[in-house]
């Protein structure tokens, strides 16, 4: 591994910040409104007609805390996939950045860190909205941005790696259909996974989004010692995805 210069990583992030300033309103708007829509539809709709409580938690709070993982994956994996592909293939942004004293490691690190930070902020929105719907604030919730950040790093790395691997942008459809959507649905956001067949429960345990859902719920309702293992698993995944992203994007950017 080469030495990574913080100035290069910050330079890459500063470009993202400059661009984000041009579209932050629309992104923030949708990040705030989307969980509200879900909470109305599932929490108040389903929660007042079919399910009132799950595992002793009000259904609206069950869904609201689970929605953090949804917000994180959609604010990390998708922007990483599409953003990386567009910047590489259509905008040629990376050609310009790599002509400066910036290596692919630093480029990928800057991209992942920015996406991680952004997703950590957006990930807290559903929690804040759920507090508005009656969830009691708890001190553990202060750790939610950290859980969201680590998970978002993993998904950002995954997205960059995918973007560095596909030949055409339409191939992202396979990834969203076969990977992102099942992960999102089997994360335990809308229903507890112990209702699923045994094989699906095993798969869910391997699902990083499920681990984030559990971490966030435990942050709201009480931590367990196994949460340390969950967090360690997410950190390890983020590291593996970071290296994979660098490897795949290097193959694309350096002839």
């Amino acid at each position: 591994m080469r030495r990574i210069e913080p100035a290069a990583v910050l330079g890459v992030m500063s470009r993202e910040v400059a661009n984000f300033r041009t579209f932050w309103r629309s992104t923030t708007f949708s990040s705030l409104i989307e969980p509200m829509v879900y909470l109305f539809a599932f929490g108040l709709g389903l929660g007042t007609t079919l399910v009132t409580q799950v595992d002793g938690i009000d259904y609206v709070e069950f869904v609201g805390t689970g929605m953090v993982a949804t917000a994180v994956v959609f604010a990390s994996a998708l922007p990483a996939m599409f953003g990386t592909f567009v910047k590489h293939r259509f905008q040629r942004t990376y050609d310009a950045i790599l002509a400066a004293p910036v290596d692919v490691e630093e480029l990928v690190s800057g991209e992942m860190l920015w996406i991680g930070l952004r997703a950590a902020v957006f990930g807290t929105f559903p929690l804040v909205v759920t507090i508005g719907f009656g969830l009691d604030p708890a001190p553990g919730m202060l750790l939610v941005p950290i859980f969201s950040f680590v998970t978002a790093l993993a998904f950002a790395g995954f997205g960059v790696a995918v973007a560095g691997s596909v030949a055409k942008i339409d191939q992202f459809n396979y990834v969203t259909t076969l990977v992102i959507t099942p992960m999102f649905l089997l994360a335990g956001t809308f229903f507890p996974i112990d209702q699923l067949p045994e094989w699906a429960q095993v798969l869910s345990q391997l699902n990083p989004l499920h681990q984030l859902v559990v971490l966030v719920r435990n942050a709201a309702f009480g931590f367990e010692w196994t949460d340390l293992l969950r967090l360690a698993g997410l950190v390890a995944l983020a590291f593996v995805m970071w290296r994979l992203a660098i490897r795949q994007l290097t193959g694309r950017l350096i002839d």
């Binding site: 100035a7 290069a8 910050l10 330079g11 890459v12 500063s14 470009r15 400059a18 661009n19 300033r21 041009t22 579209f23 905008q91 040629r92 942004t93 050609d95 310009a96 950045i97 790599l98 002509a99 400066a100 004293p101 910036v102 290596d103 950017l253 350096i254 002839d255």
Partner: protein
């Protein structure tokens, strides 16, 4: 010390040898024009110099740094102006420059941005989004972005491709300013006039190597003589003149409906028809003489 030293550089893409045993030296403060058709290896040479392509063989040094091992050190002192516009179009002119000032670790970002804006004559548009600029302004900004850190070496990849003549002249003035400051420039182009006007020397590239190099005037005199005749006539008449020119040892080629006779001042009396158009020979004539290929 030479700013660029390439020795026997080879770069292949599958079965294609994009750069094939390239030797190239550019002294400091020199402007070298790389002239050649698409696929000659000009852009690959540029990418090799920025570490975005790794050579399969040979040795490369830029500003005294070995490539690709010390590429980052070299890039910190090198400015690159790409052929394709890759500015951030929603971001302001000023922010585009500031981001690259940060990437190049410039100390006083505000001063560097002000200087680059003045260079590109865009100070009054600093707060506008790039999307609002004209094509010529965007090109000037692209060049200013590559110069924001006052590089010692500038790589210009087809700096005026696709621009109209007026904007091209503006860009040439900007590049002439750089030359006057003593910046080393390696400029790829397939515009003859650009190379003739801006470059101290021209290296003609074909099939991944330099086939001729020298001052534009000297290259023309050596390979294409002083004057070239273009003769428009019916095919039979052109064929007749072509046979006579070949017999006299002159370079001839067809260019659309015209027969081109290179170095026609050496032709025996009466060979060049009186109604032929006589013009000064150009680097294009040199290129065609040496390779049999057209530049554009």
């Amino acid at each position: 010390m030479a700013a660029i030293e390439l020795q026997q550089v080879v770069k292949t893409f599958g079965p294609i040898r994009a750069v094939d045993g390239l030797d190239l030296t550019v002294p400091e403060g020199f402007c070298l024009g790389l002239l050649g058709p698409n696929g000659a290896g000009k852009s690959t040479t540029m990418r090799l110099l920025t570490g975005q392509a790794i050579a399969d063989g040979g040795s490369l040094r830029a500003l005294g740094y070995e490539l690709p091992a010390e590429s980052k050190e070299a890039r910190a002192r090198m400015g690159v102006v790409p052929q394709l516009d890759n500015l951030d179009i929603d971001v302001t002119v000023e922010e585009n420059l500031a981001v690259f000032a940060r990437l190049y670790r410039v100390g006083d970002i505000g001063a560097a941005v002000d200087r680059a804006l003045a260079l590109a004559r865009l100070s009054d548009r600093r707060g506008d989004a790039v999307d609002e600029l004209s094509g010529g302004m965007r090109r000037r900004l692209l060049i200013a972005r590559g110069l924001v850190h006052r590089p010692r070496l500038v790589l210009l990849d087809e700096p005026t491709v696709g621009l109209d003549p007026q904007i091209r002249a503006e860009i040439w003035t900007l590049i002439e300013g750089l030359r006057a400051e003593g910046t080393t420039i390696l400029m790829s182009t397939h515009y003859i006039e650009e190379a003739e006007r801006l470059a101290d020397e021209v290296a003609l590239m074909a099939q991944g190597k330099v086939i001729a190099r020298g001052r534009p005037g000297a290259l023309i005199a050596e390979h294409a003589g002083r004057r070239t005749a273009e003769y428009y006539a019916p095919p039979e008449r052109r064929a007749e003149v072509r046979r006579a020119a070949v017999a006299a040892g002159l370079g001839v080629r067809s260019a659309g409906p015209a027969l081109v006779i290179v170095g026609c001042e050496r032709a025996p009396d009466g060979l060049v028809p009186e109604d032929a158009i006589i013009r000064p020979s150009s680097l294009e004539d040199v290129f065609v003489e040496l390779t049999g290929e057209e530049l554009e």
